[in-house]
């Protein structure tokens, strides 16, 4: 019994020890696996993981380059940068945004408008981006925050460069503005292969030159190698590659002229484009009313935006490039030139004007009751005889007109160095087919050609197109692409790259034909519709007034005074000076300004007086009420 118990005990012990040995084998196998894993990680994969650890440890922090500066032709600064402190919040690091902003508000002034702007930015951005709650902190405010910094995790003071347009509203439509990068901008950056270069950048040109020359102005980002911890905080700097400042733009624009022109418009809506005919360089690009681009830089406030966006005067629209207007009588010198070139008229050929043109039983009225009598080409331009051009248009036919005007650049984008230019409308049989859907609408009726002759009907051109056409005539048929940038200065080498001084094309016009037109346009300013505006000028100029109908009068007499202001006609004036050696060609458009001679021509006079004589105007150009009587359009 005792023996068997002992046996059982021994057997039990043997079994236990055997199992212990089994466990020992399992332990050895498991630990061997572990050692194998360590050997794999620490010997074979060592290099890979070292790289991974370095990647973890070292972060390339982009250094945003200084944006290039924009100056006018004489070096006046139009867009520059300044450094200022901003108070920024990274929303993802702040548990309760409102409480944090409230607490900040007790330390540093945070106005309701700042909160509003921050909210707007928050909607547009990702939460791990650092967003400004206050900009332009004073030194005192910076010190105040620094002392309390520990209370605000996720809030930082940063020195940032800001874009500034020192002249405010002046030339804003040409300059454009920068704003925070949004999704669409990112796509553009990506398409240009610039994503890496824009890593640290949060602003981009949104319109105007700032947009068009974005990749010139931006510069090359620098990089700093910093050691970072897991929270992304920089611990120390290891190496640094300096950024390269963006290239500077020097414009053809004369900002003094621009200012004077903008002032000349007063509170009237309109556009003016002045071009140097021998280069295509734009001297002034005006669209009124204008706006302050500085409002957009830090993210525009909602009320400012509403004010600009909802204003019936539409200050954000660049009328010079995006407004398409019927050219009215300014079309006549172009028609006359076409007639000469196509052999449809000679200068001396006359017509007899009874005060209307009868086509298929319909009377096309001349503005002068009873007509101008016997009219040759000179008189038709100087006194703006409609009947002459009704007949001429009828004789030429729509496609001839379209072909000639097309060669002058009307109805197609000029290619000015600003994005978003409109095409306008150059009417032709082909255009009508494209434009309309129903077959009966697609047909061109000969009657429709008649009013085309005096710049009405389907005609609609942008001021920049008309200015280009005017400059081309002033320059005897040598056509340039209008441009705002004269040259780009490379920030590294200082090398200047000039923008396209080569002509776009030379139109094969006979010199004597051009001479006839110029002479007639000189006549306009001497004895015709522009004579009052240019009375006593110390230089000889050439011009043509025009009035673009806003709506059809259907046979009734036009009395400007009786019409509501927004229904009044648009006033136009095209001109160049000096007549013999043109230095400046321009188009003036005053929306609802009535007759061209009345409101547009006086502005042109001011611009010429300043540009050619250096004469400064005393105030906005006055409307010439008396001009109304003389105007015959």
């Amino acid at each position: 019994m005792r023996r068997s118990a002992l046996n059982t005990r021994d057997r039990e012990l043997d079994r236990f020890r055997f199992r212990l040995a089994v466990a020992a084998v399992a332990v050895v196998l498991s630990f061997s696996t572990l050692i194998g894993r360590f050997v794999y990680l620490q010997i074979f994969q060592h290099e890979y993981f070292t790289t991974r650890a370095e990647d973890n440890r070292i972060s390339l922090v982009p250094i945003v380059p200084n944006r290039g500066v924009i100056v006018d032709r004489s070096g006046t600064v139009l867009a520059r940068n300044y450094s200022a402190f901003t108070l920024e919040i990274t929303p993802s690091k702040v548990p309760d945004l409102d409480a944090t902003i409230d607490a900040l508000g007790q330390l540093i002034e945070v106005l309701p408008k700042d909160r509003k702007r921050f909210r707007k930015l928050l909607e547009e951005s990702k939460t791990f981006e650092s967003l400004p709650i206050r900009t332009r902190l004073s030194d005192q405010e910076v010190a105040k925050f620094a002392a309390n910094r520990f209370r605000f995790p996720g809030v930082e003071v940063r020195a940032r460069l800001f874009r500034q347009y020192p002249l405010g509203e002046v030339a804003s439509h040409a300059l454009g503005y920068i704003g925070r990068i949004n999704k669409r901008d990112l796509e553009v950056i990506d398409d240009n292969g610039q994503l890496a270069n824009y890593k640290g950048t949060d602003h981009i040109g949104k319109t105007g030159l700032e947009q068009k020359y974005e990749f010139q102005l931006h510069g090359e980002a620098g990089y700093e190698q910093v050691e970072i911890d897991a929270g992304g905080r920089a611990v120390r700097s290891l190496a640094r590659t300096a950024p390269v400042t963006g290239n500077n733009l020097t414009l053809t624009l004369d900002v003094k002229l621009q200012q004077i022109t903008e002032k000349a418009f007063g509170d009237r809506r309109g556009a003016l484009v002045a071009i140097e005919p021998s280069t295509g360089g734009i001297l002034a690009l005006v669209s009124t009313p204008t706006y302050d681009p500085n409002l957009f830089v830090d993210g525009i406030r909602t009320d400012d935006w509403d004010l600009l966006n909802n204003s019936p005067d539409k200050p954000l629209v660049n009328r010079a490039l995006n407004g398409a207007y019927p050219p009215g009588s300014t079309f006549k010198p172009l028609m006359a030139l076409a007639a000469l070139e196509l052999g449809k008229r000679t200068a001396s050929q006359t017509i007899s004007d009874p005060g209307f043109f009868n086509f298929g039983g319909h009377h096309f009225r001349d503005d002068k009751k009873g007509g101008h009598g016997t009219v040759d080409m000179y008189k038709s331009i100087v006194h703006s005889c409609d009947t002459y051009y009704y007949m001429l248009a009828n004789d030429m036919g729509i496609d001839n007109i379209a072909r000639f005007m097309g060669s002058l650049g009307l109805g197609s984008r000029t290619g000015i160095d600003i994005e978003g230019e409109s095409e306008g409308v150059l009417p032709s049989q082909e255009w009508k087919k494209r434009r309309f859907k129903r077959p009966e609408q697609q047909k061109w009726y000969a009657g429709e050609t008649i009013s085309i002759g005096i710049g009405q009907g389907y005609n609609a051109y942008t001021p920049i197109q008309l200015a280009q056409a005017m400059a081309t005539i002033a320059n005897d048929g040598v056509m340039y692409r209008p441009h705002l940038v004269r040259y780009i200065t490379d920030s590294k080498t200082g090398a200047k790259t000039y923008i396209e001084p080569q002509p776009l094309r030379t139109l094969p016009w006979k010199p004597q034909n051009i001479e006839i037109i110029k002479k007639a346009m000189i006549g306009v300013n001497k004895e015709g519709t522009g004579a009052r505006a240019f009375a006593g000028a110390a230089y000889e100029s050439a011009g043509k007034t025009g009035t673009a109908q806003v709506f059809s009068l259907k046979g009734a007499d036009y009395k400007a005074g009786k019409l509501k202001q927004e229904l009044r006609d648009h006033a136009l004036f095209i001109a160049f000076a000096p007549a013999d050696k043109p230095k400046i060609a321009l188009v003036v458009l005053v929306e609802n300004g009535g007759f061209g001679a009345q409101s547009a021509a006086p502005i042109a006079r001011m611009v010429f007086d300043y540009y050619l004589l250096g004469k400064l105007p005393k105030g906005p150009a006055q409307e010439d009420e008396a001009a109304e009587e003389e105007e015959g359009e």
Binding site: A5, T8, E12, L13, R15, F16, R17, R19, L20, A23, A24, V27, V28, S30, F31, T33, L34, I35, R37, F38, V39, L41, Q42, I43, Q45, H46, Y48, F49, T50, R52, A53, N56, R57, E227, I228, D229, A230, G231, V235
Partner: protein, 368 residues
């Protein structure tokens, strides 16, 4: 006179202490302290407070080592019953922290009853098998299985999978050493393998995703995969000899989460490399060898299976922790024994160590 007194005192002090075990764990604790210092000195140094934990732990160990195994056996049933009752209370009244109901509020403090089971479970099962030693039948194994499964289920339900596995393993080792038939072991493995596909189809999508992330952490680099990716980077970049004490960039730039607790091995490995790892594994191996020797020479079945289970538990802790930190096992909350920071876990470990010492030293007394 005084000398004699001092000598008697010394003998009284060390008579129930196992030298090799103390030496090995001492070395592990030193390594642990140095690593905790490295992991926390630039923010919130925990080395000193871990030293205090160790002091308390050693005291507990000393006290337990004085108790002969027969006395220990008496605590088995009450401790187990208390543990299970507390677990049930946790199930109903526990406080939820981070989505898991593990703590029981006691007014002035709160306790984690699952910690008690780490000791109570092997103690209870060892007592049970000891009681029926003479005639162990299959039903005894079945009852033991039941005693195991109830607390295991309650802990897993909290959910605290890490502790549940450790408690379950400790219990299973006792059953294994008590002589669970091989047929049953093989059958269980086969059944488990066979059931796996069915379990897989029964899981929710998010549960499957979690398992897949455990297998390939790169599928969720910022979520649960982050820990493993960063710790493998730390280990791998440590290379052969490591970046040197206090020199681990992954550690000091705070890429390693839980770096003084569950992931302390990543810190150690980054700073001491393969060489350090090998020494560490060697130390654990020595600990296990010594524990197995104690088990093999134990005089009663209770002592044997208990010592065997405790020893293999040490192994399980070490292997699961190093395995998860180095990315071959899923992440479960298991500390590295004698290295990780944390008072409760350390005291439990020293309690187990005290039991081992008691078994070893009282065996000799019995023989005498």
């Amino acid at each position: 006179m005084l000398q004699q007194y001092l000598r008697r005192f010394w003998v009284r002090l060390v008579v129930h202490i196992d030298g090799p075990l103390l030496l090995i764990t001492g070395a592990l604790m030193l390594a642990g302290l140095a690593t905790i210092y490295s992991a926390t000195y630039d923010a919130n140094n925990r080395a000193l407070s871990q030293l205090l934990n160790m002091f308390v732990g050693v005291c507990v160990m000393w006290c337990v080592a004085q108790l002969p195994p027969q006395k220990l056996m008496r605590y088995a049933v009450p401790l187990y019953v208390l543990g299970v009752i507390l677990l049930v209370l946790v199930f109903f009244f526990g406080i939820k922290i981070n989505g898991a109901r593990r703590w029981l509020p006691l007014g002035f403090t709160r306790v984690q009853p699952s910690e008690i089971l780490k000791i109570a479970m092997p103690l209870m099962l060892a007592w049970y098998f000891h009681k029926y030693e003479a005639a162990l039948k299959f039903r005894h194994f079945a009852v033991a299985g039941l005693l195991l499964i109830v607390p295991f289920g309650l802990i897993a339900k909290q959910p605290d999978l890490g502790t549940a596995i450790l408690v379950g393993a400790a219990g299973f080792y006792v059953i294994f050493f008590a002589g669970l038939p091989w047929k049953v072991i093989v059958g269980m493995i086969a059944a488990g393998a066979g059931a796996a596909p069915f379990v897989w189809t029964m899981l929710h999508d998010y549960q499957r995703k979690r398992i897949l992330t455990l297998i390939d952490p790169t599928t969720d680099p910022l979520g649960s995969g982050y820990h493993i990716i960063q710790s493998t980077i730390a280990i791998g970049s440590g290379g052969t000899t490591g970046k040197g004490w206090l020199g681990g960039t992954q550690t000091h730039l705070e890429f390693i989460p839980e770096r003084h607790t569950d992931f302390i091995f990543a810190v150690f490995s980054e700073e001491h490399g393969l060489l350090g790892n090998s020494i560490l594994v060697a130390l654990y191996t020595l600990l296990i060898v010594r524990g197995m020797m104690i088990a093999a020479n134990a005089s009663t079945l209770f002592a044997r299976v208990l010592a065997g289970s405790i020893t293999l538990s040490f192994f399980t802790y070490a292997f699961v922790n190093m395995g998860m930190v180095s990315g071959i096992l899923p992440v479960v909350g298991v500390p590295l024994p004698f290295m990780s920071y944390g008072g409760t876990a350390l005291v439990t470990l020293f309690l187990a160590l005290g039991i081992l010492m008691s078994i070893q030293t009282h065996r000799m007394l019995v023989k005498q």
